[in-house]
């Protein structure tokens, strides 16, 4: 197979890159940055693309040295075998290049020295970051197995040159100037003026906080840091759409977009009155405690225009959760029942919780709620003593900030937990996740990352929910059974 193009490419004329964890003690950060710059410069000499080094989490290509499990589902394996990996162009983790910190990296040593030249591997990995796949040409830079592919000649192997030029086109000649003197603009790295980000906690491996281009559903890395919107080529509508969507996900309800429902509260219940003011780009919620009302108008989300925080069968009844509300759907009802507040059915949840992350009923008929880094075990409607407990009690890594979904999979009736790009199989008997996990969510082909919920319905099928829509899953093929259904409301909320 000759060179392979992976379909994605960088649209922005200048691609930024950043060495994320410069505190790498073994290697000299300055030398590493020089080598990264040379490796990118080699591609820039042969294609119409330019690079600029920045030192911030806004970079398109974030370069990281990490070892073993480092949060992307593709663990490194210590010295030897896997040296590095990189992701094809895209938002989120797209474009990033990760190098195995357990390798013996050579920065300046001569070719025959013992170890792995960082330059050779970096050129290869940046080929992926630009959109190239592996080539079976043994002399090509994109050949999967490590070899000295480039020895300082003034050109790269033909297979790589044709590959990169078929994505970005050849390097444009600058007329009217002496072309010999003109070197690709990548060689002029302008040190960025953006202030260096605060020193990162060295207590645990640092994960780059990547941005997203406003795709409404991208939310969190597995360790829970939210994406921030970055200067992107997306149109402002998309971005405002993203901000608006982002807010709907996290803000308390506003009267404008939701029905108002009067819910009577028992007089002893001290209601908190929430006022929400939304300025241009931010939502501030001020909470004031007022004297108890005999009743108050409480607003629940518009069930026909919302994503779900969780949807599951409990005692074979369908429960749908959003923010502080739950709908108890009865199959025989023609109409949707009125929602009520979660803490009026499940006693023992924290009084100030905004929303639950997910919930499921296990094979011991216990009802397990996940909120943030804790989980709550309910025996029917009552919290069992000794709960909540931290997620680490289940064998999950401390870097996990929340569980997106908990599923008893229809294929094998085993429990799976999903968070960000990763998932675990959970052993209900040992009450811990199984050893050979986490794995990357790409195993569940077509579902993508950062899902909202998943459950097995009475029809014995498995459904995944993300944003306002859902997929039915084909267990045997391990892929989605049909295209994304844009509206869950009709099927699940009887809208």
């Amino acid at each position: 197979r000759r060179y392979v193009i992976q379909g994605q490419k960088w649209q922005n004329p200048i691609v930024t890159y950043s060495l994320v964890n410069q505190t790498m003690s073994e290697l000299d950060a300055g030398q590493v940055r020089r080598i990264l710059h040379e490796a990118l410069g080699l591609w820039a000499q042969h294609a119409n693309i330019n690079f600029r080094e920045v030192y911030s989490t806004d970079a398109d290509i974030q370069v990281m040295f990490a070892r073993k499990f480092h949060g992307d589902g593709y663990n490194f394996d210590g010295p030897g075998k896997i040296l590095a990996h990189a992701f094809y162009p895209g938002t989120g983790i797209g474009g990033d290049a990760h190098f195995d910190a357990d390798e013996k990296w050579l920065l300046n040593e001569p070719l025959d020295a013992e170890g792995t030249r960082l330059f050779d591997v970096a050129v290869h990995e940046f080929g992926h970051s630009l959109g190239l796949g592996h080539s079976s040409q043994q002399d090509a830079i994109m050949f999967p197995w490590h070899h000295i592919s480039y020895r300082g000649k003034d050109t790269i192997p033909e297979d790589d040159r044709l590959g990169i030029q078929s994505i970005y086109g050849p390097r444009k000649k600058i007329y009217g100037k002496n072309p010999e003197r003109h070197t690709p603009s990548t060689t002029t790295t302008t040190t960025t003026t953006t202030p260096a980000p605060p020193p990162r906690p060295t207590t645990r491996p640092y994960y780059p906080v990547k941005n997203t281009t406003g795709h409404p559903w991208e939310g969190l890395y597995p360790h829970g840091r939210p994406y921030t919107t970055r200067r992107t080529t997306t149109t402002t509508t998309e971005r405002s759409h993203h901000r608006e969507d982002e807010e709907t996900r996290y803000r308390t309800q506003l009267p404008a977009t939701t029905e108002t429902t009067t819910v009577r509260h028992r007089p002893h219940h001290r209601p908190h009155h929430r006022t929400t003011t939304t300025t241009a780009m931010t939502t501030t919620t001020t909470t004031t405690t007022r004297r108890p009302y005999r009743h108050r108008t409480t607003i629940h989300p518009n069930p026909c225009n919302t994503s779900f925080d969780a949807i599951t069968l409990i005692r074979n009844e369908l429960f749908i959760f959003k923010d502080r509300w739950l709908w108890r759907m009865n199959e025989n009802d023609l109409h949707r029942p009125t929602p009520f507040e979660i803490h009026r059915m499940f006693f023992g949840l924290p009084a100030d919780f905004e929303r639950i992350d997910t919930v499921y009923e296990n094979k011991h008929q216990k009802i397990i709620f996940f909120i943030g880094k804790q989980y709550y075990v309910f025996n029917s409607q009552y919290l069992e003593p000794g709960y909540p407990r931290p997620l680490t009690d289940l064998g999950l890594p401390d870097s996990i900030e929340r569980i997106d979904a908990a599923l008893v999979w229809s294929h094998n009736n085993r429990t799976y937990l999903y968070s960000g790009r990763l998932y675990w199989k959970f052993d209900e008997d040992t009450n811990r996740v199984e050893l050979d996990y986490p794995r990357d969510m790409s195993m569940w082909r077509g579902i993508g990352y950062n899902i909202d919920s998943a459950f097995q319905y009475r029809d014995g099928k498995t459904y995944f929910f993300k944003g306002r829509g859902y997929w039915r899953f084909n267990d045997m093929n391990m892929s989605i059974a049909h295209e994304y259904q844009k509206s869950s409301a009709r099927r699940w909320m009887k809208c």
Partner: protein, 101 residues
């Protein structure tokens, strides 16, 4: 049976499970079997080994011989070789691309 014993000795560095993991990791074998537990046919395994041998420039025998074992133990990039592997690409873009097509 000397032949059987001889074959088994070839894989003394690596048992078949490691070979399967390698082939799945780099896109030569369907990974989903890990979760579904579906069994594989011998043809599927031999075809995967042949693809690996072709990509690595080896003689295509379909069995994990010495050269193939040596190739599997060489340092390499962690990205999969299968050009259709979507593992290293943000998958919602894939869906976007599909819906566009």
């Amino acid at each position: 049976k000397p032949i059987e014993r001889e074959r088994r000795s070839e894989a003394k560095f690596w048992d078949y499970d490691d070979s399967q993991k390698y082939l799945m990791q780099f896109g030569y074998l369907e990974k989903s079997n890990i979760e579904t537990g579906n069994l594989r046919t011998i043809e599927e395994l031999e075809q995967a080994v042949r693809s690996l041998q072709r990509f690595g420039g080896l003689k295509e025998t379909g069995t994990v011989d010495e050269e193939t074992l040596a190739l599997m133990q060489r340092p390499r990039c962690g990205a999969p070789d299968d050009k259709d592997s979507l593992d290293f690409r943000p998958s919602y873009e894939v869906r976007l691309k599909r819906s566009r097509s």
